[in-house]
């Protein structure tokens, strides 16, 4: 079978993702330096908020979404050995790229400094919202492309879904569960606000945004977990401890990743306590699949050691291939994700949230999840995907080992400093943390430590972009049969493979969790506020 078309899609999507990562990462460093008092580089407030908007939109949405699209096409076409619809695939890519260019142009022009949460009634240029809408439309067509091909495969084979495909499908299902929220917000409220100055009810818009904003986290995370399930057994020359438990974990993500958005709104007025509490509990249920994932992966690591005759209780940790860049990167991702998860439990714990809400604790937290568990996994996976998809060898092999170690060290420093600073009340999203001299000195010290971590992260990012960029352009040709990475399984399907059952159940849970908050919001009567520029 010929995968030229699919591979071309993946190549464009991944190169686009790398470009966006390079730009977005640069902004991140500038922000950290600006937030560090007495550093030589200081952005003015309008530049800082432009940078913060670009950093958030480009990295949290564009970098992740494009890498995931490239990965999804690769996994689905090779693991299921099927071709995708050419026109849908091209159409989705063109729409997505056009959308991103529009939004990016709006941000860089300085007319849309509304950050990546774009809370109304703060107003951005219409181009910003229209670009986002087109990007979402593009991703929906992309998801349709994948599902059409999958349904065709399913009808023909009637076999169990292989694990990597299962992960990709789960990712897209969560994206489709989540994005209607932000689509409604943008189309119903924000585009009219931007074009016609229509007032917007802030609580309603925020609730739609966070309906999307939290499952977005799992949209990032599930491809990373899929890559963990994919690489760990292959790197250790064994099989996954079990293929059933990972599927159960993925299904739990389908069920519980969406009806949790209100845990971002615990200190919003106008949402009753019992609805806030319900979504707090639902958030705890999402910890279960993370626990199951950790078990399967660690058990796989230990299993490979025992298979090789290892006897010592913890000897398997030392025997792991720590000098392998892909393994090291994934292991660091998992370690930091564990801390990210514990921090997440604190954020979601209803009363405790008021302590950390809107402080740098939150920034420290999600840089462990999206900026490490997800981003570092995508980075090190590229060291295999570049030979597999681009047929190019990595040029600087030693740099691939150094890079994840630097990221791990840099992120540990940055994130720890930001977590602690958050407990001292240092706010996020502020260009100048001195507050005219009333800032406690510990804020300044922690900001300086965080900046050191940021510089190390940036060096790691530059090494990554340089190495993968030169390898894609100038690497020696390698003839790698990417299909051989996947093994052919032909198991009988079980209830776990009936994804439609789980999606219906998920929709029921989402309705139960959200119908009452929305009833409360609408029955109270909306009180729209007129738009204002930042």
């Amino acid at each position: 079978m010929n995968f030229k078309l699919e591979d071309r899609f993946s190549k464009i999507a991944i190169v686009f993702a790398f470009t966006v990562l390079a730009i977005g990462g640069m902004f991140g460093l500038l922000q950290l330096l600006t937030r560090t008092p007495y550093s030589p580089i200081q952005l003015s407030p309008d530049q800082y908020y432009l940078s913060l908007t670009a950093h958030g939109v480009l990295l949290a949405i564009v970098w992740t979404a494009f890498f995931i699209m490239g990965l999804a096409v690769f996994v689905i076409s090779r693991e299921l050995n099927i071709n995708l619809n050419k026109y849908l695939l091209q159409g989705s890519l063109i729409l997505s790229i056009v959308g991103v260019i529009m939004t990016t142009a709006a941000i860089l022009s300085g007319t849309s400094n509304v950050l990546y949460t774009f809370y109304p009634p703060m107003n951005a240029s219409a181009l910003f919202y229209l670009g986002l809408t087109i990007l979402i439309l593009g991703t929906w067509i992309f998801a349709a492309t994948i599902f059409l091909a999958f349904i065709r495969w399913k009808k023909a084979t009637k076999s169990a879904i292989p694990i990597a495909t299962f992960g990709v499908l789960t990712t897209l299902i969560i994206w489709l569960e989540a994005t209607p929220g932000v689509a409604i917000e943008v189309i119903k409220d924000l585009i009219p606000m931007s074009l016609f100055n229509t007032p917007v009810d802030v609580l309603e818009a925020r609730t739609y945004f966070w309906y999307f904003g939290h499952p977005l986290v799992y949209f990032w995370l599930l491809p990373a977990i899929t890559l963990w399930y994919f690489f760990i057994p292959r790197l250790l020359n064994t099989k996954l401890y079990s293929e059933r438990l990972p599927k159960v974990a993925f299904i739990l993500f389908i069920l519980f990743s969406t009806p949790v958005g209100i845990h971002h709104q615990f200190v919003d007025p106008g949402i009753a306590n019992q609805y806030k509490f319900l979504q707090s509990v639902l958030t705890y249920l999402v910890t279960i699949p993370s626990f199951l994932t950790a078990f399967t992966l660690l058990a796989t690591m230990e299993k490979s050691y025992r298979e090789r005759g290892g006897k010592s209780l913890f000897g398997w940790i030392k025997e792991l291939p720590w000098r392998d860049s892909v393994f090291a990167g994934i292991a660091f991702s998992m370690i930091l994700f564990a801390f990210g998860g514990i921090g997440g439990i604190i954020n979601a714990s209803y009363t405790l949230n008021a302590l950390v809400h809107n402080t740098t604790w939150i920034v420290g937290h999600f840089h462990l999840t999206v900026a490490t568990a997800v981003t570092l996994t995508f980075m090190v996976s590229s060291y295999v995907l570049i030979p597999a998809i681009f047929n190019k060898a990595i040029i600087f092999k030693k740099l691939t080992v150094l890079q994840p170690y630097l990221w791990f060290i840099g992120m540990t420093i940055f994130s720890t400093a930001f977590h602690i600073a958050g407990l001292y009340g240092m706010p996020r999203r502020t260009a100048d943390i001195l507050y005219g001299g009333l800032a406690p000195s510990i804020w300044i010290e922690l900001a300086q430590i965080a900046a050191i971590g940021g510089v190390i992260l940036w060096v790691s990012g530059v090494i990554f972009i340089f190495n993968s960029g030169t390898s894609i352009l100038k690497g020696a040709h390698v003839a790698m049969d990417a299909g051989s990475l996947f093994e052919k399984v032909n198991e009988k399907e079980t209830i776990l493979d009936r994804i439609s059952v789980w999606v219906i159940l998920a929709i029921i849970i989402i309705i139960l969790a959200y119908v009452f908050p929305f009833l409360q919001i609408y029955s109270r009567g909306l009180s729209p506020a007129p738009p204002l520029p930042p």
């Binding site: 306590n273 078990f295 809400h357 100048d432």
Partner: protein, 172 residues
């Protein structure tokens, strides 16, 4: 194609003993987390999350908040007096609030333009809630320690966001 395949394969029997133990542990952790979260505000209602919102008229509220500020700015607010604060790009309607230690005060917070964040920092305390246009947030606070607290805006509200601050002096 039936929704649930028949006969339903007993896929769950394939879990190993270790996996079953681990599932039980994960479930127990989730239940314990939910139970502690619920019990905290039940044991002491002071820890309950504030949610109460009132109808809000920006013009009328601005006047109430300005009135409050003109009477009490820099002066001790007597117990049983409601506190009205309005947020606006880029200042709070009152610059120095003086409160008595250990007294329950009812706060009213509202925004006259965009979203703001009301974050209290000082004397080991960090507490944040949202200030939104279109709604009046009502909640009770009791300061256990005397001293100087700062209120800074913690939600991005525009280019001057970083300069938006006020002081709360708590006296014994």
């Amino acid at each position: 194609m039936p929704l649930i395949p028949k006969p339903v394969e007993e896929w769950y029997k394939e879990f190993s003993k270790q996996e079953k133990i681990w599932i039980a542990i994960a479930l127990a952790v989730a239940i314990i987390l939910a139970a502690t979260t619920l019990s905290w505000p039940l044991i002491d209602p002071k820890h309950e999350v504030p949610s109460s919102a009132r109808e809000f008229n920006p013009t009328a509220y601005k006047e109430i908040a300005n009135n409050f500020s003109s009477i009490y700015n820099g002066k001790l607010v007597p117990p049983n007096t409601d506190i009205y604060i309005a947020a606006q790009q880029y200042f709070w309607s009152i610059s120095t609030l003086v409160l008595k230690k250990g007294v329950d005060y009812r706060f009213h917070l509202g925004s006259l333009d965009v979203i703001h964040g009301f974050t209290i920092v000082g004397n080991g305390t960090v507490y944040s809630i949202m200030v939104m246009p279109g709604m009046e947030y009502v909640f009770t606070m009791n300061f256990k320690n005397a001293g100087t607290y700062y209120v800074i805006c913690s939600e991005y509200c525009g280019y001057g966001h970083g300069s938006m601050r006020m002081v709360i002096e708590v006296v014994a």
